[in-house]
Amino acid sequence: MPKLTIDGVEIEVPDGLTVLQACELAGKEIPRFCYHDRLSVAGNCRMCLVEMERSPKPIASCAMPAAPDMVIHTDTPTVRKARQGVMEFLLINHPLDCPICDQGGECDLQDQAMAYGYDRSRYQENKRAVSEKYMGPLIKTIMTRCIQCTRCVRFATEIAGVEEMGLVNRGEHAEVTTLEKAVDSELSGNLVDICPVGALTSRPYAFKARPWELQSTPSVDVMDAVGSNIKVETRGREVLRVLPRLHEDINEEWIADKTRHACDGLSRQRLDRPYRRGEDGRLREATWEQAFEAVAERLEDLPGAAVAALAGDLCDAESMLALKDLMAALGSANLDCRQDGAKLPAGPRGAYLFNTSIAGIERADACLLIGSDPRREAPLINARLRKRFLRGGFPVAAIGPQRDLTYEVAQLGEDPGALAALAEGEGAFAGVLRRAERPMLVLGMGALARPDGASILGMARRIALETGMVGDDWNGFNVLHRAAARVGGLDLGFLPGEGGRDRDAILAGAASGEVKVVFLLGADEIDMSALGKAFVVYIGHHGDAGAHRADVILPGAAYSEKNGTYVNTEGRVQLGRLAGSPPGDAREDWTILRAFSERLGSPLPYDNLGQLRQRLIEVNPLFARLDQVAPGAWGAFGSETPAEASSPFLLPVDNYYMTDPISRASVTMAECAEAFGLAAPAKRTGTDG
């Protein structure tokens, strides 16, 4: 614990800090461009110069380890003059195009030039011009603005794990490039955030808005089950961009590209008024009364067993609870939130959570991936795994199709047979797991969403127990969900009740005619042709597969348009907030269900969001514990019957950029899918029948 003096104040700082970090702890702000907390130190911008006594010249504080008895001055005429000199050098070749630069208003160089810049230039020479580079559909480059801080190069290499960016040439000719390749990373959007100037800017957001025009709403992402903390930035009711919000235990300060760039899908293919299918089989616009009338008519005298409900991937807990209560009022036990057919148990809670927690990955010392591709299913969890891997001593093995995960993975096989062998203790990796102090396994939907998923779950549980993954202070058993709604749905019991049907049985019942009315709450990933002649009520926000099949469409709100509760794959309860109202006649989903229940004559017992949340907490008290990870209860789950040993695991996500109704409607995501050679699915129009 070195003790040093910073601007006359003595401070003791933890070992291993740099002078810059020590100054931060002492409350002194140090300007910087190349230094970034989460990246390696480059020390090439020289903006963080401070004066150290007994040193003949100013030192770069970002690269100088804090040592005992240092005497640092951060605000002397020398320091100011040195920084002014650095700033003047940086501006020699920086264009004066702030008025047309997208970084304007949130630019480190602009801000720091206000503090350290001269008010006039002493240079007559021409500035250098650098040709633009192609970095893919998400990143727009104006490389003349680049100040060669190399943050982007270090981010791509260290965090994203794609060594595709580099600083080529030297001296005045130095330039950052990818050699004309798109940055093939699910985290590439963060390059725009870490660029301290306007060299890398967001291509979809180019020339859209200035930061001071936007209203920023703190919210939670629903594109995957990570629950990244985001800021939804709107002008009027249009979402213009999504930015990350710091949460050390979830997304640190990054977000995935789908989270950031699928937001243009929020204003396309929206369901903005109710529809009902006419006699001629075409969907026609209707009023809310007519739409409710059509559903109520169909429900009349129908036994509960003939009604079913499926919840989709993006649903908030409130709307699922409202639908669950409505189903109870209709006397139906046929409901399921596992639209992908995953064999997830209703409990104990530890059986369907990412028990290690995302931050806990950093404490693990061995990892087994089963039917999971974290890079495409949860890019930020993959980034944590990589972060842990880079620290060393973290063997990772995978059972399932081979994918590049940006770190070394030993391939143990592709089918449950390999898993069974591991459970028997065969192979070297079984020993690795057994010897590890805190081993973990990640069970993906590729392993659970198959007919023998329960057996796989049981087998994974046995491996977890036999290799000592489950203890008092460590639980290495993890289920990696893909859908933001899933854990919430399981927590509030959006599952078949007594004698009720699960997803497969609902689809079978619909095909055979036993199930006559199916409510789809944003459920678009099921096989619509399997619904047979059933009367389908779609409550959702996009004209996707579900709306296409529906007989009545009740337009709902997307995640940015409602206050909703989401539970991430760790079991962390978080609140998404309303950033802009839903379009046209669309309404927040739970209010639709509440209004419809009134039409049926048995109103749901809540009139506002507060009462609904009270009901949510009654159903499961966990919903009251915001932003906390409670250890998941452990117990018996899974099946003992042997799995189909030779049918290989299939990974659920081939095209990362288009996995849900919002990202499928997004033009940006379609461009990404095209740029990276992933098949772009045919355009769905949904509402035009």
Binding site: N126, R128, A129, V130, K133, E163, G166, V168, N169
Partner: protein
């Protein structure tokens, strides 16, 4: 000033030939295990020699693969050092020294004579692929200024005429002596000894 980083298009599949593969192995073996990447510069040199004096994208990719580096990292090295060329050069790469001593002794005339003789501009390769010319900074042979380096050899004490003679000989594939072209030995005084004339080498002058 405009700069850009685009290299020449790839010339095809490059791989070390048998002799160079062995050479590369020897070089890599000089570094501890896990530190193979330290061999990047000597390996690039071997690859450049095998590839006709320049490094194509596929040569860079091959070196990267041999030592387990990302291609972009090797590109950074190649573009940083001035003696790696990422665009084609002539079989005889003429580097005219233009730093002060050579410049005072007429390096501008050498460049002019060279370009006139070959009918090209700086940086271009002649149509027959034999020559390309570039200007470089001090090559450290100031005592024999002006001079040029052609591939690995120095040609010193040049005049435009003697330089053209050298180029003719190289084009014809004839032997031509390297070093001083004015006839003196090494950097010995021009026109014979100028000092210590009264002493005889090896003799007992002072004694």
């Amino acid at each position: 000033m405009r700069t850009t980083s685009y290299g020449a298009p790839d010339s095809g599949d490059f791989a070390f030939d048998e002799a160079n593969r062995k050479r590369a192995e020897t070089i890599i073996a000089r570094y501890p295990e896990g530190r193979e990447q330290s061999a990047v510069i000597p390996l690039l040199d071997i690859a450049q020699r095998q590839n006709g004096g320049w490094l194509s994208d596929s040569a860079i990719a091959h070196v990267a693969a041999v030592i387990g580096m990302a291609p972009i990292r090797v590109h950074e090295v190649v573009s940083f050092y001035t003696m790696f060329y990422s665009k084609p050069v002539g079989r005889h790469l003429i580097q005219v020294c233009r730093t002060t001593p050579c410049w005072l002794r007429g390096s501008d005339e050498l460049t002019r004579a060279c370009l006139k003789k070959l009918g090209t501009r700086i940086g271009e390769v002649t149509e027959d692929g034999l020559f390309s010319v570039m200007e470089v900074e001090c090559l450290g042979a100031c005592a024999n200024a002006p001079m040029v380096q052609i591939n690995d050899d120095y040609y010193e004490d040049l005049t435009p005429e003697t330089l053209v003679r050298v180029l003719d000989a190289l084009a014809a594939g004839q032997e031509i002596g390297v070093g001083s072209q004015s006839g003196r030995q090494g950097s010995a005084p021009e026109g014979g000894a100028q000092t210590l004339l009264e002493t005889q080498p090896g003799g007992g002058g002072a004694g």
